[in-house]
């Protein structure tokens, strides 16, 4: 603690779990937007990750509200937000955005995408798996040309509805922060846009990571054309994201409101490690340079040619760094906005706890949980091309 802070600012009200929440929804939106772009623009190379991206989005979406439930501490009352929604509250309306996105967009798209395989799997398997897959088809087992064409068309339409929905889902999270007028660190119309692009970055990095890591685990060859393409996408998304953040930064510097003094102290003090070191240097510049050099983003074969094995490892490392960087962005936004006093004359500190519903342990469980769910989903709905059933 330094300088002057008001007594009610001593304790931070939004802690680690509220950092987790935008991080996880960001991954959902990012993974989904990646899948949608693959589908809408029909990018052949990244076909192997289309289903994986959808399942990843679903696994993380299921976990997304849990940090909030744990943070608010009344999970048994949570359904009331649907029953008696306060229409003037952005947070309350989010419940509906979430429900829409989960049921109408994501589950439907996955269903149409998998229906044919579900039917074929149910036909060829036996035991509980057969029944599970059959139940998932909802009894729609028609595999005629016409029915399959319908699946495809429906999937495309849902994707087209899904893109704005995903934008809404994550734009909303930025909106929540951006619309806090009284907080100079948050209040900015650019916030939803910056959140969105960082979401896309994190989603691509996550899918890239899971794809490469899972292939290595399954001792299947990594389709390098696919990995390269993803890495190139990641590079482009990061360029846009970084430019937007710089735009925001320069805009603040130029406006130079009365808060600029305390914000610069904030950046040089409590946020130095997480903002300058983790977010900008390790999370953005290092992966940008590495991807620019090895991925085919700038020139067809990469600026410097690297053997596939090495490139794979570089991609894994970059994707990890990007995740750390994006997590730091969420950290810097959520906690940074509470570390300085409304008096603009003092800074406080945040010390995460280890135990308790808001502690580090809880946070790591919530970060790990989507991976467990994803593993289960992959068991039930294998997303790999080699698992796709052939007639």
């Amino acid at each position: 603690m330094q300088g002057y802070i008001y007594p009610n600012e001593f304790e931070l009200h939004w802690g680690l779990l509220v950092v987790l929440y935008p991080y996880i929804t960001g991954l959902v939106a990012g993974a989904f937007i990646l899948a949608s772009l693959e589908r809408v623009f029909n990018v052949k190379e990244v076909q192997p990750t289309y289903r994986l991206a959808l399942l990843t989005a679903l696994a993380f979406l299921l976990v997304a509200p849990l940090p909030l439930l744990a943070h608010l501490g009344h999970p048994l009352r949570s359904y009331e937000i649907f029953l008696t929604p306060n229409r003037k509250s952005a947070m309350a309306m989010f419940g509906f955005v979430y429900a829409w996105y989960l049921t109408v967009v994501l589950l439907l798209e996955i269903w149409f995408e998998y229906r044919k395989d579900l039917v074929l799997w149910a036909r060829s398997e036996r035991g509980p798996k057969k029944w599970l897959h059959y139940a998932l088809t909802l009894g729609a087992t028609d595999l005629s040309e016409e029915a399959l064409r319908f699946d495809d068309n429906a999937g495309r339409w849902i994707t087209i509805i899904g893109i704005p929905s995903a934008f809404l889902l994550h734009g909303y999270v930025g909106f929540i922060f951006g619309s806090v007028k009284a907080n100079p660190w948050w209040s900015s119309v650019l916030m939803p846009v910056v959140f969105l692009f960082s979401a896309i970055v994190s989603g691509i990095a996550l899918v890239l990571f899971i794809y490469v890591a899972a292939s290595l685990f399954r001792s299947k060859p990594v389709d390098m054309r696919c990995a390269d393409k993803l890495a190139a996408f990641l590079f482009y998304a990061m360029i846009v994201d970084f430019s937007l953040e710089m735009l925001d930064f320069i805009h603040r510097l130029y406006e130079s409101e009365e808060s600029i003094e305390i914000l610069s102290q904030l950046i040089q003090g409590p946020l130095f490690i997480s903002l300058i070191v983790l977010q900008v240097v390790l999370g953005t510049l290092v992966p940008l340079i590495a991807l620019g050099v090895v991925s085919p983003a700038l020139s067809d074969r990469g600026v410097s040619r690297t053997p596939a094995e090495l490139r794979r490892l570089i991609y894994l490392a970059c994707a990890t760094l990007v995740q750390i960087g994006i997590f730091s962005i969420r950290w810097n936004v959520v906690l940074g906005g509470q570390l300085f006093s409304k008096s603009l004359r003092g800074l406080t500190v945040y010390k995460p706890l280890l135990f308790g519903t808001e502690g580090l342990l809880m946070a790591s469980v919530l970060l790990f949980l989507p991976l467990v769910i994803l593993w289960l989903l992959v068991k039930v709905l294998p997303p790999w091309l080699d698992a796709e059933a052939t007639e």
């Binding site: 007594p7 001593f10 359904y79 649907f82 029953l83 008696t84 306060n86 049921t103 439907l108 269903w111 149409f112 229906r115 909802l138 009894g139 729609a140 087992t141 028609d142 016409e146 029915a147 319908f150 699946d151 429906a154």
Partner: protein, 242 residues
Amino acid sequence: MPQQVPRLAVLFAVLVVGFVVARESLVPDTFGDVGHYRAAAVTSIAAREKSYAGHRECADCHDEIAEQRLASHHSGVACEVCHGPGAAHSEYPDEVELPAPRERGFCPLCHRYDPSRPTGFPQIEPVAHNPLEPCMSCHDPHAPEPPEVPEECGACHGQISRLKTVSHHVTLDCTTCHATEEQHKITPRLVRPGKPVDRGFCGTCHDEDADSQADIPRIDLATHGEDYQCWQCHYPHYPETG
């Protein structure tokens, strides 16, 4: 019509109907009549049994204590803050006894030193302030007074005096800078000590030409710190440089 459509339609119909039914059955009747809450909550809360009587009620029987308290520093602290809800006791004083918080841990709930309390609010450090004895052996809870007029300014201005003892100004008495009448220690809010008002005051020791101890660091009063008061840059109870 493709097979998928009716199946999904049924599924979504179930969801929508489930939602409508849940809303119909779970949302309370009077919800939203007045505001974004159950209007009947007001009457059902009002109908609950009273547990607090209010301090006027206590005065009916404990008139001496009540008068004593009203004239004391605790005039703003109601009886039931310390004794707990007393409606039942007021009705049946012989059957229902009220506890009295005699343990030492209680008073520091309000009086333990805490920087967010306003300056001048009587605060103590329970570990150091006459440990082991119950507070009541020296302070009457219904008319609390320090049992004797404290000698040291630090009895009430603990933080400032602790800070000063580790500062460069350790050798200076509080009264060097604050002319203080004795009465301030008895009725601190009515009689206030003086405070330095201008730069010239600090200059009496720190100006280049000042007639003071030789080892005191000097500044040029005319130029140093421009037109600001010295204490806008140096905290007088813990002067630091740079």
